[in-house]
């Protein structure tokens, strides 16, 4: 008998997402993803100077701060036909790399942590057995001691007891889908706390090269303005010192925790739970050559169809189109998708069903449906890892093979919620390990070359540019048209648009929707498995104003004016 489960709002993500799942027994047969990710915020850029595009665009999101700033700068630089000089290229990579590492660390622990970790079970853990587990995957476990584990237990107990649960609220302790033993739960929970101190560090690195965080502002069209910091040995040493602390945590806490999780959640990985779509896309990021060629990016560009990792296809931007067939927008012809360079954002809200559920046959989301060659694509760490693996990237291959060997899992296990989560960790280590060599290269280059900006003349004629970059969550594209030195058209397609999209004109579901098909729930009134699957994509949707439920009149007693 089919029934419908609605999860609204999906908690522990950025923004507002609603998932409707159709169940047959305890297994999901169909799913619908709906969100208030309102496209159109780009209109703020029309009429503005292209030199300021990044400063405005970055305000779209303070979480993946810098991602929009860089993509915007690339789009304008692309329109002008210029590249930043080497110092700027490397400095930008360092800022971006630090941000990616921070973002992924927040995700694994603070956002996805409770999908895998049962905090109440951790309260029953034996600190000695936890020590043993800490040594299972590293010889130098992070902040591991009997005293520490006792302390973590005490802290967690106090929090659970206080009732002021905050991020612990609304969790499903005791659900049979939790598979870690108490010691595994305590170990990961202790790193959850350690991470709160670690997270400060990438922010500091970004502030050194970017002058502040959130929203570093030293990247400018043509280069970077923080050259004074780049040639200052003290500042660069500050960065190197901090990188060491980050890699210590990644190598001795994060990766071991992933391996621990993989051991105990093995079965669902083998079964491919949460795999979803079979197509993957990455624009590539972190240019390694001064021409910023997509052929030489640290995270490579590419396309995979049908999970054929042996055949990585070249990306053709013209094959990207957005559909609005099931989205709350109007097109002249909704059977046809539009490339973002000619994108139209014409809102057309057609409402919900009378019972408040989504109109699955009609329009049901504010997210458009980007497609590549009319296929639904997944973007994000899994896509990037698979493409890098398929292209023969030595470090990625070594990391993936290491994880598979240690866990005894086959390559096919990557196509799952767990695989997606592991790919995020693999990518974090890959980037974190690169930060030091990049910083040393920057120091060396800046000793003999202090150029930081490529000069240009903004022409009056019409020019167009595209910035195809990778944010932590996946493919990020900025399309700009400039005329008479002002922006006349701007479109942004963010990773969550790809992954969270509703069906297109052909009925193809988006990544979230596809990933839930086949997921079995231990207890349909506790959507733990839905959260676990959706969280593995690290959704990030529109920031909207905070809301206090007006039905409670409690608010009035706090009024001061």
């Amino acid at each position: 008998m089919a029934r419908k489960i609605i999860v609204d709002p999906v908690t522990r993500i950025e923004g507002h997402l609603r998932i409707e799942a159709i169940l047959n027994g305890n297994e999901i047969t169909e799913a619908f993803s709906s969100s208030t990710l309102f496209r159109g915020i780009e209109i703020i850029l029309n009429g503005r100077a292209p030199e300021d595009a990044g400063l405005f665009a970055q305000r779209l999101c303070g979480v993946c701060t810098y991602a929009h700033y860089e993509a915007s700068s690339w789009a304008v630089e692309n329109a002008l036909g210029i590249h930043p000089p080497r110092n700027a290229r490397i400095a930008r990579n360092i800022i971006k790399g630090a941000q990616l590492v921070q973002d992924h660390l927040v995700h694994f622990y603070q956002l996805a942590g409770f999908d895998w970790v049962d905090v109440v079970s951790a309260l029953n853990a034996d600190p000695r057995k936890t020590m043993d587990l800490a040594y299972a995957h590293t010889e130098t476990p992070y902040n591991a001691s009997l005293a520490r584990f006792e302390e973590v237990k005490a802290r967690l107990a106090a929090f659970v007891k206080s009732g002021q649960l905050g991020p612990f609220a609304g969790a499903y302790w005791g659900n049979p889908s939790y598979k870690l033993p108490p010691e595994g739960n305590l170990l990961v929970a202790s790193h959850y706390l350690d991470n709160l101190n670690i997270l400060r560090i990438p922010a500091q690195i970004m502030a050194i090269l970017g002058s502040k965080d959130p929203h570093p502002q030293t990247t400018i069209v043509g280069g970077i303005s923080s050259i004074a910091d780049i040639i200052n040995p003290q500042r660069m040493d500050d960065i190197l010192f901090r990188i060491g602390k980050i890699t210590d945590f990644v190598n001795n806490a994060y990766i071991p925790d992933l391996l621990t999780a993989a051991m105990f959640y093995k079965d669902e990985a083998i079964e491919g739970v949460g795999g979803g779509l079979k197509n993957y896309l990455s624009y590539g990021a972190f240019p390694m050559t001064d021409d910023q060629s997509p052929d030489n990016m640290f995270l490579p560009r590419g396309v995979i169809f049908n999970r054929d990792i042996g055949k990585i296809l070249n990306l053709d931007e013209k094959k990207i189109t957005e559909f609005v067939t099931h989205s709350w927008y109007k097109y002249p012809n909704e059977k046809v998708g539009l490339n973002p360079s000619v994108g139209i954002t014409d809102p057309d809200y057609t409402g919900l069903n009378r019972d408040g559920s989504l109109q699955e046959e009609g329009k049901y989301s504010w997210i458009k449906s980007p497609r590549y060659e009319n296929r639904a694509m997944e973007v994000g760490p899994l896509s990037r890892t698979l493409i890098a693996y398929g292209k023969g990237n030595k470090e990625i291959r070594a990391l993936v093979d290491y994880v598979l060997r240690k866990t005894g899992l086959p390559v096919s296990a990557l196509f799952s919620t767990l695989g997606r989560t592991a790919a995020r960790g693999i990518e974090t280590k890959y980037i974190a390990d690169a930060l030091e060599p990049w910083t040393l290269e920057l120091i060396k280059n800046a000793a003999v070359d202090q150029s930081s900006w490529t000069s240009y003349e903004m022409p009056s004629k019409e020019i167009t540019g595209i910035g195809l970059d990778e944010a932590p969550r996946g493919a990020l594209g900025h399309w700009v048209r400039i005329k008479n030195k002002k922006i006349t058209h701007y479109q942004i397609v963010v990773p969550t648009t790809w992954n969270g999209s509703p069906r297109d004109a052909f009925g193809n579901p988006g990544a979230y929707e596809a990933s839930l098909v086949g997921v079995r729930m231990s207890n349909p009134s506790q959507p733990l498995e839905i959260l676990r699957t959706i969280h593995s994509f690290d959704p990030c949707l529109a920031c909207a104003v905070h809301i206090i439920d007006p039905k409670t009149n409690e608010i009035r007693k706090f009024k001061v004016s």
Partner: protein, 160 residues
């Protein structure tokens, strides 16, 4: 160290109140070494480093309450609007981040000034007249808060 943190999305009109407020303070006042002004934007965990370095924070944010636009509400660490803010559209709550800090052993004193917005559905980098008009009131409240801590800013000299 006391921090005044303005949070919000600058591109969504009144939702950006906190950001506008901090910019305004910067222009009008010079604060001594005991006070930091922080444009928190829509960053959640990105503010952890700032918060860990502060023993007191004053937060300014637009919060929809169903009450009259321009109303100002004040909360302290003993009555943080955790329960009231259950139905938020933006899940990486500042409140969550504060809870995280407490879990990690850092408990700054907190004052939150929440302002009911008028317009935060439109796209724009300006505030609605209703909210713009209460900025002086909000400023006064924040400065009074600082005064009670013996932190008095000096007014910036007006440009010639």
């Amino acid at each position: 160290m006391t921090g005044i943190i303005g949070i919000g999305n600058l591109l969504l009109k009144d939702e950006g109140l906190g950001v506008h407020f901090i910019a305004g303070l910067r222009e009008k006042y010079s604060f001594g070494p005991g006070v930091r002004l922080i444009d928190g934007s829509t960053s959640g965990y990105g503010l952890l480093d700032d918060i860990f370095g502060l023993d007191r924070i004053i937060v300014v944010d637009a919060v929809k309450t169903g009450e009259e636009p321009g109303s100002i509400f004040k909360f302290g660490e003993d009555n943080l609007p955790v329960e009231l803010m259950k139905k938020t559209a933006h899940d990486v709550e500042f409140i969550d981040v504060i809870t995280m800090c407490a879990l990690a052993g850092h408990k700054p004193k907190i004052t939150i000034f929440a302002v009911a917005p008028d317009d935060c559905h439109g796209i724009g980098i300006t505030l609605s007249p209703t909210v713009q008009n209460i900025i002086p009131v909000l400023e006064k409240l924040v400065l009074e808060e600082l005064k009670s801590l013996s932190l008095n800013p000096s007014e910036m000299p007006l440009p010639n």
